[in-house]
């Protein structure tokens, strides 16, 4: 097992009477993309902001590469790249100036190629206030990565990005991971987390209610696999018709949709029934539960597995 780069143990964060984060623990290994998921107010941004050294912790132990983010934030600055959910740059600062400005503080040469990679080369002399929200976010990501930090903390990086930019960022994250960069990705986008993250933690009301690989999390849910079938003669459109392992069924857009705990036997039984009735199979889809469905299942029932 690779070394733990980020360690969070019994971490608590309190705002007045509100407990934002309530004793969570997790670790992130080197080269891992770790997804931090949760509805609004779950404690994702509070966790990230304490790890980034922007806020102090109210309990527990947090370490990034062995450093305490609150006490050793200066040492940590050059080791982490941070894209904040809410931030800004001076209105009159140009894109190239921003790259030069922050690179100088990190004591590295400006990485203009990264601006090119993130689609900012045509806007290189544009002032910050002239950039669209998506371009401002791309610039924030470029600045977070410009000094090649070994640890990257991204808070909703693809919010407001168009599809090509989102794909480009995903490719970039993949490349960073190949180079051994450790990434924490806080996101609302379940498809993104499922695609990019090696492991995810689902936060709810300040607690981690699920932690594991996306496959592990989807497997530990209610475990229903969705089987959608379309036939020429619609022989499956009978409400009383049942198959092995089925817990729920519905009919939608000429498809009979079944939720099964035993998809193998369900599919075999469905095909046998279609053949026996002399109908013809047009389409058959078997989909495992998505992370989004698992997330909704967890957050919908108020947490806990």
């Amino acid at each position: 097992m690779k070394d733990s780069v980020i360690e969070v143990r019994d971490f608590r964060k309190v705002y007045g009477d509100v407990i934002a984060v309530d004793g969570i623990s997790f670790e992130v290994r080197q080269g891992e993309i770790f997804g931090l998921l949760g509805p609004n107010g779950a404690g994702k941004t509070s966790t990230l902001e304490v790890l980034e050294g922007l806020r102090s912790s109210d309990g527990g132990v947090l370490r990034i590469m062995g450093l305490d983010p609150t006490r050793e934030s200066r040492k940590l600055r050059h080791l982490i790249g941070v894209q904040l959910q809410i931030s800004g740059l001076p209105d009159s600062m140009r894109v190239d100036e921003a790259m030069k400005f922050f690179s100088a503080y990190h004591s590295v040469a400006p990485n203009y190629q990264l601006l090119d990679r993130l689609g900012l080369s045509e806007k290189i002399t544009a002032q910050y206030h002239m950039l669209s929200t998506g371009l401002q976010r791309r610039l924030a990501i470029a600045l977070a990565l410009a000094h090649n930090p070994p640890v990257v903390l991204l808070d909703e990086p693809t919010a407001g990005l168009d599809v090509p930019s989102r794909n480009e960022l995903h490719d970039l994250m993949g490349q960073l991971q190949t180079r051994g960069t450790t990434i924490i990705l806080a996101t609302h986008d379940m498809a993104e987390a499922e695609k990019m993250a090696d492991r995810v933690a689902i936060l709810l009301k300040g607690k981690i209610v699920a932690l594991g690989t996306p496959r592990e999390l989807t497997a530990t849910g209610a475990g229903f696999t969705k089987v959608s079938v379309r036939t020429e003669g619609n022989v499956l459109f009978e409400p009383d018709l049942t198959f092995p392992g089925i817990s729920q069924q519905a009919f939608k857009d000429e498809y009979a949709v079944y939720y099964s705990t035993d998809p193998g036997h369900t599919v075999l039984a469905i095909i046998a029934h279609i053949e026996a009735q002399g109908d013809t199979l047009i389409d058959l889809r078997v989909e495992r539960p998505s992370l989004e469905e698992r997330f909704l299942e967890i957050t919908g029932k108020g947490g806990g597995q």
Binding site: R77, L84, S87, S107
Partner: protein, 269 residues
Amino acid sequence: MNAFANHFSFEFRTGIRDKTLLLMNYLFPIGLYIMLGLLMKDLNPPFVETMIPAFIIIAIMSGTVLSLPNPLVSARESGIFRSYKINGVPAISILTIPALTTVSHMVVVAVVITATAPLIFGAPTPLVWPGFILFFLLTAFAHAGLGMLISVISSSSRSVVLWSQLIFLPSMMIGGLMIPYEMLPDALGKIALLLPATYAMNVFQGFAQNQVAAIAPLWSVTILLAGGILSFSLANYLFCWDSRNKARRGHPAIALSTLLPYVLGIILL
């Protein structure tokens, strides 16, 4: 050093690119200098004797007290300081570099005023140039410190205006700029000793013009220096990165202790 130079260069350019800063750093003080100069030359001819230091002080107050705090408050409120913090920009750079660049703009304005006032208005040039430079530096230092402190303790543009005008307007009226300090009634004279402008004019009289002043100019040097040091120290102590994170080392009311040297001035002088 590269980072500092780069930051300084960016802030200096911002002082020209930003229309509000351009107005307050250059257009307002130079415009006021020309208009009031023309007016006062006829209305109050003795004013010409002190117009160079008076308009330099006005320019410095315009750049430091009126215009320096607002962009800093906006930057904090819009999350710019958060971006700075996560990228390793130290608080000391955020506090000192805008002050230094503003003072650099003020040097340009001071040169314009000093070079043109004798030609346009027949104003006397300073007799002792090192004394004149001392006057400029102390005035800029004390006012830049106050500007920084206002930016740190103000939560909005409205409170910036309030604090800034509390310094600017009394300085214009009783700070010795339009009416000599010696001519003020006793009560107003005491209040005037709360204003850096009063001491700045005194330093100019004593060290740049070799005149006998109402206050021993060495006292004024000491008070301006102490006021500047105290303001910058308090600004550094009370500095807050983030309007979303209100945690700071002390209550903003501590900022009032920056008046301590000036209050001592009232007691001692």
